[in-house]
Amino acid sequence: MKSSKEALRTARQLIEASMVDGKLDLQKVRTIVAKLVEKKPRGYVQVADQLGRLARLEVEKNMARVESAIALDEATKATVLNDLRAKYGSQIEAEYSVDPDLIGGMRIRIGSDVWDGSVKNRIERLEQLFS
């Protein structure tokens, strides 16, 4: 039984090994996971768990999740992506989704940063101010 700390350390080393130019190479991660499953080293389940988590966080760092109340047209999408790339770097990719609960506006999440310009958020803030 490998301790969770050791598993985390190993996973971190593996993630670092699969970075290419500051970006996670998903192909390398796939190879590592395949090797882990095939060779089954000591505590490989925990290592795989941690690896999955770290890989997810790494991917999320460079993935902007753009939610909007209505579907965006291509021009708006391009503007949003360009603005985000100007702020966070050219490696940013965007993923678009529609959430009618937002009522209006947009909500963008990159890593743990959230840019919330939705009507829903503004109403909530207003509610807090007056409660």
Partner: protein, 512 residues
Amino acid sequence: MSNILQELESEIAGLKTSVAKTNVGVVREIGDGVAKVEGLSDVMLNEMVEFPGGLYGLALNLEETEVGCILLGEGRHVKEGDEVKSTGKLFSVPVGKEMLGRVVDALGNPIDGKGAINATENYPVEKIAPGIMPRQSVNQPVQTGIMAIDAMVPVGRGQRELIIGDRSTGKTTVAIDTIISQSNINKAAKEAGDDSYKPMYSIYVAVGQKLANVARTIATLEEAGAMEYTIVVVASASDSATNQYLAPYAGCAMGEWFMQNGMDALIVYDDLSKHAVAYREVSLVLRRPSGREAYPGDVFYLHSRLLERSARLSDANGNGSLTALPIVETQAGDVSAYIPTNVISITDGQIYLETDLFYKGIRPAISVGLSVSRVGSSAQTKAIKKVAGTTKLDLAQFRELQAFAQFGSDLDDKTRAQIERGERIVELFKQDQYSPIPMEVEVVVLFAMQNGYFDDVDVENIKDCQAKLQEFFTTRKDAILKAIRDSGKLEDGTVSDLKQAIEDFKSGYKPE
């Protein structure tokens, strides 16, 4: 009506500003009042974070990919996957004079059913203690109203004096007596129209105590009319460990407000052993490495940073003060246990209460040998200093001789005199709970004792004689008391008056 509309409009206009960036995380694990949150990459240590439903938490553990947060309230509705927002604010509590007379929880919310508190200011709960330059040395007394303490282990404004002893030896009583004494002095000064007197406000922090005990304490304070100068902060045994851990800091923030605004305050932490236990619980749930007795490594810092915030500020900084009376409970009289030694080394002295003395009927059960005050004597009122100078030594010698005299009956006259004097001092220092004695009366009694006026009174009649002496002075010799009270000194003229008055009393005194 138009006001509200304008307000609404301005608020709405404020909302139209550009989209603000927030830092968020996702709850991964929750339980025992602690949440592990993934994300929150920009969060600061001790920052408040917001959980869904208006619940707040504190970020205590910053790890590589996770943040360990303690919840400030009931977190049953929080579940895995919930979003947590950072706020960029430190946890603070309402402070100010509006808090006086109120009972609040560790977050500063009223729990006495007397409605909302309209405090205008907030102070952060964790604050760095005043540095060296804004301070000055302790030079004003805190009259505890307990004769044994005022005479032998005096406490000054800005001092930290530990009250330590086994369970049920009267630790809380000493603290409550002090609070009552302060409120009595405040009221007396107010009635006399003395504007130069700085009232002393009190804060009583109950940590991990039974609610029945807290209710009794509050009732005592109310009965004595001390609540109007007192804030009570309660984190009882039924509150979460988080709230118990935060309560002393919240109380300290309220006390600091008085200090920073040039006023004097007294804070009682009742008690710090339970506070350490609550912090141990929080730390273990946060999976911090444990050390001796499973306490985390920073349990010393936990108390030192709290008690360092008590200080006497210099005149340039407003001349305010915060006096701390922390209480620590020992197990079977063991002062060398972990938490007691820590707190003893942090504080400026301790009042040690002994079980044996308590059951012998010597109450307050102050152990003379083990109680000290490192800075208080420079703050002692001159009058008391003059009459109580050698009392501690007399009493310590008496205890030694008493142990020795048990073995033989043949004693020389000097030893016998010392023992008889000692027995009388012990009797005089016995005092009922919740009945603090004013300073000037203490001076009279101590003066009578030092000058041998009690030597011809039988030991069993000492208490009776003392009570009658006090009554004689308060009803018939108020001028002498006033002279001592106003000057704080024992001048030659007063001494001769005092001698004459005591002789008058003695000539008419008959034991019952």
